[in-house]
Amino acid sequence: MSTVLTAIIVLFLLAAVFGIVLGYASVRFKVEGNPIVDQIDAILPQTQCGQCGYPGCRPYAEAIAGGDAINKCPPGGQSTIDALADLLDVEAVPLDAEHGEEKPRSVAYIREDECIGCTKCIQACPVDAILGAAKQMHTVITSECTGCDLCVEPCPVDCIDMIPIETTPNTWKWPEPPSPMQLIATDRGRGLSASEAH
């Protein structure tokens, strides 16, 4: 009987001790705010394009933190999905085609002859990258443009084009060396890649 009692007492004591430790830890190491949202937001490409169905990247980040799917961001593409999957420790899934497809990064370009100065695109731009005033020609500050293409739709004269960003020698990336298997399949030669070599 006393053994049982001792066991129970010991268990209670252990529970109490660990409870105190856990309680202390939860107070002492309390994480302020909701950093996961910030972390998700940091991964998202910040185009603020709304293709995910949310009004901007932050709301989508909050939605993801709340359990929404991670594959709704076409501008971020697979790399963003992979990064999110890594962060949230979930499976990386392919991009949800419903929200659009991954396109090369582009910037908006206003054909200035055709612009009538309606300011509709200025209101649509989530990052204030369009310069202009009513009845004045508008122009895109390319360095600020995220390529969200939200300005294309409102333009009444369709004078906005999305132009893919060209690779310059300064932004050119070394391609990944082809895997050994491909090398053997394409028979020798350490070309940068089959298509680029010519």
Binding site: D128, K173, R190, A197
Partner: protein, 766 residues
């Protein structure tokens, strides 16, 4: 003779230098067309100064630097600008970039130019400016604008000037031949650099496979009074790497991510020194350079002095190329050079070698095998990295880990790939990983920037909406006020405070928003100021705007608040007073009656009648007042009522107690029942009064809470302030010295004003 130290790793690839040193340097033919890329150096591309169709003279500046780290470009020969467009440039990407194309007129006419004469008489900054205007950029391969390096002595102490004559890559002999044939130019250049940088000693690092160059240098060094040492280092690739050479000559390592000047060392290539010499002594800008054209596919490998912009095909032809044997065209050395796929690509300032290799000479790499972690790359790595680990990380795209393993300390010398028994293209893996990381960082920066702009826009939109709303509310308030005034004139009833109260709330919110914004703007500004950001002015403007907005909002709030508190109406005040008078009378009468009752005096009935009348009157007055107030603010009646109610409650309580005790004392049975009835009635009234009081009090508290003020706290504060005033007054009377008194007086004034302010606030709510 200085001591030679050692660096880790290194390899000994076949030198292949003999082929191109047999013939002396010869002049390359001037081609019909010269293509001059706008970016031949590290930094910002140059900006063309000429238009298509312009005629240019040899040595005329045709493009100017656009930023601090940039270089100017000069016409290599006289002729006409025929095109400014994108042409393939010598770059690993094989992409095109902006170039100026000059059609040579064959006259090769110089623009007017002359040397600086005795440069030692000039100001150093002028000398450096001249070098900058001559478009000189490092000619060893990297192409860092030379004038930027020469400016280093301004904010660095330069102890050692190292002249890099190691030329460690196989095949290349351009520097070797330059030193052999033009040692005096090299020395002249060194003297100019030494004059600018004022180092305590100069070291020329040269590999022991160039005995002729060493002899030539030694010969000219006899004629200088500078402290110059020629340090012969053993031939080992990559001893010509800047950091490796510094380690070899001084045993000092350049800290990662820093430049040699941070440890008091400046490194210059021998080719650069010769170019500086020509620029300073003859006024010739950098329009030509010595380039080694070699490889088994040319019959006469040699060094050519060629104009910048000369297409490779011209150079190859000058050395009698065998096109059928040519399989690879490498610009630069075999270890770090880039292959080009087009022989129309032009020579640029950094092109020190052109290898026309045959298939046999540079066979395709054997197929890649699995890494067996043999560690040979590690033994060869001059940066003491773990190449095989970096390879795994790059292949697995674990860029964070690669960075942690110091990927960015890799100098891409190719020693690891050279020794790799599995023929893994290690360098390409590192380049791939590096460019991925850089792109990622750039994207991240861009994303952060976009986020900032997005948030700023959101804030602005919110603010605009709030302002719009405030304006709308203000307009509505004005209209309502006008309306109510009209009504007030007609019905002599007040309506103003009603509209004033919600308006004040609105304004308060607006003011709070403005304050928050101001705070945010202030914070952003502070942060930016701490970081010394570019958009400081912008932020400051935003800050000021926010500040003025906040002020405006506060002002609006304050004025509305004061008008609200004054909003009470004269009519209702009068009524209030009347009611109060009536109540006082009633109270007096009641007191008298009670007295009489208690004592059981005569005339009780009469008194009772008086009381009843008075009660009626008081009630009437009160009703009239209440009626007036009901149509007016709900604040005003409470203001009056609360005190009266409180009083009433206390009176009732006393009465009740007294009546109860009277019952206890009374002996007469009939009296007892009567008194009991009375007590019951009093109780009821007491309860009523209490309920009324509580209600009024609650209303007060609620209103105060809405205004963001804890009524209780306010009361306490007011009481404390009053106490402080009393205390101050007391201590003032006790104070002895004038100084003490004046101090206390000051305090007292502050305390009084505080107490007053608090009382005012309190009265506003009570």
């Amino acid at each position: 003779m200085s001591k030679v130290f050692a660096f880790h790793g290194g390899i000994h690839p076949p030198e292949n230098k003999k082929q191109s040193t047999r013939a002396p340097i010869s002049k390359a033919p001037v081609p019909d067309k010269l293509v001059l890329p706008m970016q031949q150096h590290i930094g910002g591309p140059s900006l063309p100064l000429v238009k298509v169709g312009d005629t240019v003279l040899k040595g005329q500046m045709i493009a100017e630097p656009i930023s601090r780290i940039s270089a100017s470009i000069h016409a290599p020969t006289s002729g006409k600008v025929v095109d400014i467009a994108e042409y393939p440039i010598p770059h690993a990407s094989g992409l095109s970039a902006e170039c100026i194309v000059i059609e040579a007129d064959g006259e090769d006419r110089w623009i007017e130019h002359q040397g600086l004469g005795d440069y030692k008489q000039l100001k150093r900054t002028d000398l450096i400016e001249h070098i900058r205007a001559s478009g000189i950029a490092g000619m060893g391969g990297a192409g860092f604008p030379t004038d930027v390096k020469l400016h280093l002595s301004e904010d660095h102490i330069v102890n050692t000037l190292i002249i890099n004559a190691a030329e460690c890559e196989p095949y290349i002999t351009a520097d070797d031949m330059l030193m052999r044939e033009r040692a005096h130019e090299v020395l002249g250049g060194i003297e100019i650099i030494a004059h600018i940088l004022r180092p305590s000693h100069v070291l020329i690092g040269i590999e022991d496979n160039k005995p002729n160059a060493i002899h030539a240098l030694e010969a000219v060094l006899k004629h200088t009074d500078l402290n110059i040492d020629i340090v012969v280092v053993p031939t080992k690739y990559p001893s010509g790497g800047e950091r490796q050479l510094i380690k070899l000559l001084t045993d000092i390592e350049v800290p990662s991510g820093r430049i040699p000047a941070d440890i008091g060392i400046v490194c210059q290539n021998v080719g650069t020194t010769a170019a500086i010499y020509r620029a300073v002594h003859f006024g010739e800008p950098l329009i030509s350079r010595i380039v080694t054209v070699t490889g088994d596919a040319v019959r006469h490998p040699k060094n050519l002095e060629a104009l910048i912009g000369t297409p490779f095909s011209t150079l190859l032809e000058a050395c009698d190329v065998r096109p059928e044997a040519l399989s690879k065209l490498v610009m630069g050395g075999p270890m770090m050079g880039v292959t080009v796929e087009n022989d129309q690509i032009p020579l640029i300032k950094t092109t020190n070698c052109l290898i026309a290799a045959t298939e046999h000479e540079m066979p395709a790499a054997p197929p890649t095998q699995a890494c067996i972690r043999c560690g040979m790359c590690e033994q060869a790595c001059p940066a003491e990295l773990l190449p095989q680990q970096l390879y795994w990380f790059a292949k697995g795209r674990e860029f964070e880990k690669a960075k942690h393993h110091n990927l960015f300390d890799c100098i891409e010398c190719g020693a690891c790939a050279y020794v790799c028994p599995s023929s893994i293209p290690l360098v390409q893996y590192y380049r791939f990983a590096k460019s991925e990381i850089r792109t990622e960082e750039r994207d991240q920066q861009k994303a952060d920037h976009a986020r900032q702009r997005f948030e700023a826009r959101q804030a602005r939109l919110e603010q605009e909406a709030a302002e719009k709303e405030a304006r709308r509310k203000a307009r509505a308030a004005e209209a309502a006020k006008a309306q109510s005034q009209k009504t007030a004139v007609q019905s002599s009833e007040a309506a103003a405070p009603e509209t004033a109260a919600p308006d004040a709330k609105q304004l308060k919110t607006a003011a709070a928003v403005a304050r928050t914004k101001l705070k945010k703007a202030q914070k952003a500004y502070d942060e930016a100021a701490a970081l010394n950001a570019d958009n400081l002015a912008e932020l400051e403007a935003a800050l000021n705007e926010a500040r003025s907005k906040a002020d405006e909002a506060e002002k609006a709030l304050a004025s509305s608040a004061s008008s609200g508190s004054e909003g009470g109406d004269d009519q209702s005040k009068q009524l209030k007073i009347a009611a109060a008078v009536a109540r006082t009378k009633l109270k007096k009468a009641q007191d008298a009656l009670k007295n009489a009752e208690d004592k059981g005096l005569d005339g009780v009935d009469k008194l009772r009648a008086t009381v009843a009348t008075l009660e009626q009157k008081a009630n009437e007055a009160q009703q009239a007042y209440e009626k007036a107030e009901a149509s007016g603010t709900d604040k005003a009646p409470v203001e009056v009522d609360i005190k009266a109610l409180k009083q009433q409650v206390s009176i009732m309580r006393t009465k009740l107690k007294k009546a109860e005790s009277a019952i206890d004392n009374c002996e007469d049975e009939a009296d007892k029942t009567r008194l009991g009835q009375e007590v019951e009635e009093l109780k009821k009234r007491f309860e009523q009064a209490t309920a009324q009081f509580d209600k009024a009090e609650q209303v007060l508290v609620e209103r105060a809470a809405q205004a963001g003020i804890d009524l209780k706290q306010l009361r306490i504060d007011a009481a404390m302030a009053r106490a402080a005033v009393t205390k101050g007054e007391r201590s003032l009377s006790k104070a002895e010295s004038d100084e003490e008194r004046s101090q206390i007086e000051q305090d007292l004034v502050a305390a009084r004003s505080k107490a007053e302010a608090l009382n005012q606030t309190l009265s506003q709510y009570e």
